[in-house]
């Protein structure tokens, strides 16, 4: 019967579903190789990260005690991290507040209100600001806040300088979050009698918020790891600052000041401890970014139905 099937009798070489040509075999081999090489390259890429975590952890953890983390008194012979931790916390709080305020308002204005051409210029400027070397930013902060404003080497000078460094990251995500609200959602809000401000406060912000939060966490992760803007604008304080205008310090500044001594024997590994805390904080912030943006994805799926 099979031979009687007219289709079978008309088979031509083009109907063959396998071919053993050199080109095809080479292509399949290449595909397989890529499947091996890419994971290998990934391993090579994360090796430095693992090495840093391991090395810093192994140097920091044996001497890292609760006393080191919390004590602010400099008893002879023991370096403690209380002051830099408190200073970092305070500088980050002020800087984040400022960066969120500037970035959020700038982002919303650019996304919703400004004419396209001006918005384009502002986006370019923000990208340039984000690309500015941090030491230049520190220099700018030193001249502007420390000298011109007369705030001296202080907590607030450091926080403002850091805020300018962090603002573009908040700005970019806020701008993107509001511009990427689906057009039909915007129209539905306007069609229901909402004005521009009501749309932003009641609908736009609700949809944009998770993305903005990821921007804020990202900005914080970047800010907490900066060194130059802080070293140039805060004094290396050894006591807890009692006002915004008091000298302050920062965990990264501590590493910068102590990395030489910590390599020598007999010194307490204060730089390693600070580095370890920073790594943990930055990793936590990155995990937060992942969690929040995953939830954001879920939310938008419903809207793009």
């Amino acid at each position: 019967m099979a031979t009687a099937n007219p289709m079978t009798r008309m088979l031509t070489p083009e109907d063959l579903l396998t071919d053993r040509s050199l080109r095809t075999r080479w292509r399949i081999g290449f595909d397989r190789a890529v499947g091996w090489v890419l994971p290998l390259l990934f391993g090579v890429a994360i090796l430095p990260i693992l090495a840093v975590v391991y090395y810093v952890g192994s140097r920091a953890l044996p001497t890292l005690t609760v006393t080191v983390l919390t004590s602010t008194s400099l008893t002879a012979g023991v370096d403690v991290l209380g002051v830099p931790i408190i200073c970092t916390f305070e500088i980050m709080a002020v800087a984040t507040l400022l960066a969120v305020a500037l970035g959020l308002f700038g982002g919303i204005a650019t996304a919703e209100f400004l004419p396209d051409r001006l918005a384009g210029w502002i986006r370019t400027t923000a990208n340039m600001l984000a690309g500015t070397p941090s030491v230049v930013m520190g220099y700018f902060g030193y001249f502007t806040f420390v000298l011109y404003f007369g705030w001296g080497l202080s907590l607030i000078s450091g926080a403002f300088t850091l805020a300018f460094f962090m603002t573009p990251y908040v700005f970019r995500t806020a701008d993107l979050a509001f511009t990427s609200v689906p057009r039909h959602v915007r129209e539905a809000a306007y069609g229901s009698g909402a004005g521009p401000l009501q749309y932003i406060l009641r609908i736009g912000s609700r949809i944009a918020l998770p993305q903005i939060l990821t921007g804020v966490f990202l900005a914080m992760a970047i800010g907490v790891g900066e060194t130059a803007p802080i070293v140039l604008t805060t004094a290396a304080a050894t006591i807890v600052p009692h006002s915004l205008f008091s000298p302050a310090t920062f965990l990264t500044a501590l590493i910068f000041a102590n990395y030489g001594s910590s390599l020598g024997a007999g010194y307490v590994n204060v730089a390693f401890q600070a580095a370890f805390i920073l790594i943990v904080v930055v990793m936590l912030l990155n995990v937060l970014v992942r969690i929040v943006s995953a939830r954001y994805q879920k939310k938008l799926e419903g809207l793009y139905l």
């Binding site: 689906p182 039909h184 959602v185 915007r186 129209e187 539905a188 809000a189 306007y190 069609g191 229901s192 009698g193 909402a194 004005g195 009501q198 009641r202 609908i203 609700r206 949809i207 939310k299 419903g302 809207l303 139905l305």
Partner: protein, 258 residues
């Protein structure tokens, strides 16, 4: 149901010599059409004939598309909605709109329906009342009354569209514009939305844009046929669909466009 009484003969919405231009290319040229009392007018025509632009120009939604210029007048109970002193936000509260795509907001069913009322800071009591009334009028009440706090995103497409209708109705507009409200829905959901439209046309002015002649035949009192931005023919549904006078209309309803 539809606010203060209007003299029965006066038209609620009167479109006079309306043109919409993109740069200098007309999308709509010199359309004049009156909408009176309680009725459902279906605006039909082939793709690109300007029917969506037409309906969007009835509550100034057209202004959200950059680069379009509107000429002519649209009178809402005697007031030109394009008058520079008129607030477009107020226009859209009196002339509601439902879009092609069901677009609920990422909040509860209740809050979706209450959206327009919250904008004008109604009292909680009034909001409760208006929301249940709007959900009943849109025909969604029986399906959601037991759990008004569930997320609106969990509703089916057809339910979402009726929630959009309820959201528009909650502020008690006198006119409701429906821009192909069933084109994203399955037949069963379409049928329910059509039933809702049939009930609502006894209460307010409905303007329905549809590319579906069958739908126009089922729900409308009057059909307006647009072609290349011009109003070719308008009249009672039976007249237009069964005895069209213009050859373009004949071509359209016999399916020779699109």
């Amino acid at each position: 149901m539809s606010g203060a009484p209007v003299p029965p003969a006066a038209s609620v919405l009167s479109v006079q010599h309306l043109s919409v231009l993109a740069k200098d290319r007309p999308i709509l040229s010199g359309v004049s059409l009156d909408f009176a009392g309680r009725s459902l007018t279906a605006v039909v025509g082939p793709s690109g004939c300007g029917k969506t632009t037409f309906i969007r120009s009835l509550n100034r939604m057209v202004e959200l598309t950059p680069g379009l210029r509107v000429e002519g007048t649209v009178l809402y109970v005697g007031q030109d909605i394009y008058d520079p002193h008129v607030n477009p936000v107020l226009v859209r509260r009196r002339i509601g709109m439902v879009f092609q795509r069901p677009t609920v907001f990422p909040m509860s069913v209740f809050e979706n329906a209450a959206f327009g009322l919250r904008l004008v800071h109604e009292s909680e009591e009034e909001i409760d009342k208006a929301v249940s009334e709007a959900l009943r009028r849109s025909g969604l009440w029986d399906e959601v009354k037991d759990d008004l706090d569930r997320s609106a995103l969990s509703l089916s497409g057809g339910q979402q569209q009726r929630l959009c209708i309820a959201r528009a109705l909650a502020v008690r507009p006198r006119v409701l514009l429906l821009d192909e409200p069933t084109s994203a829905l399955d037949p069963a959901a379409t049928q329910r939305v059509e039933a809702t439209m049939q009930r609502l046309k006894e209460e307010i002015v409905l303007v329905l844009v549809t590319h579906n002649v069958g739908q126009a035949a089922r729900v409308s009192d009057r059909v307006a046929f647009l072609h290349s931005g011009r109003l070719v023919e308008v009249g009672p549904t039976a007249d237009i669909l069964e005895r069209p006078r213009d050859p373009l209309t004949v071509q359209f309803i016999t399916g020779r466009f699109e």
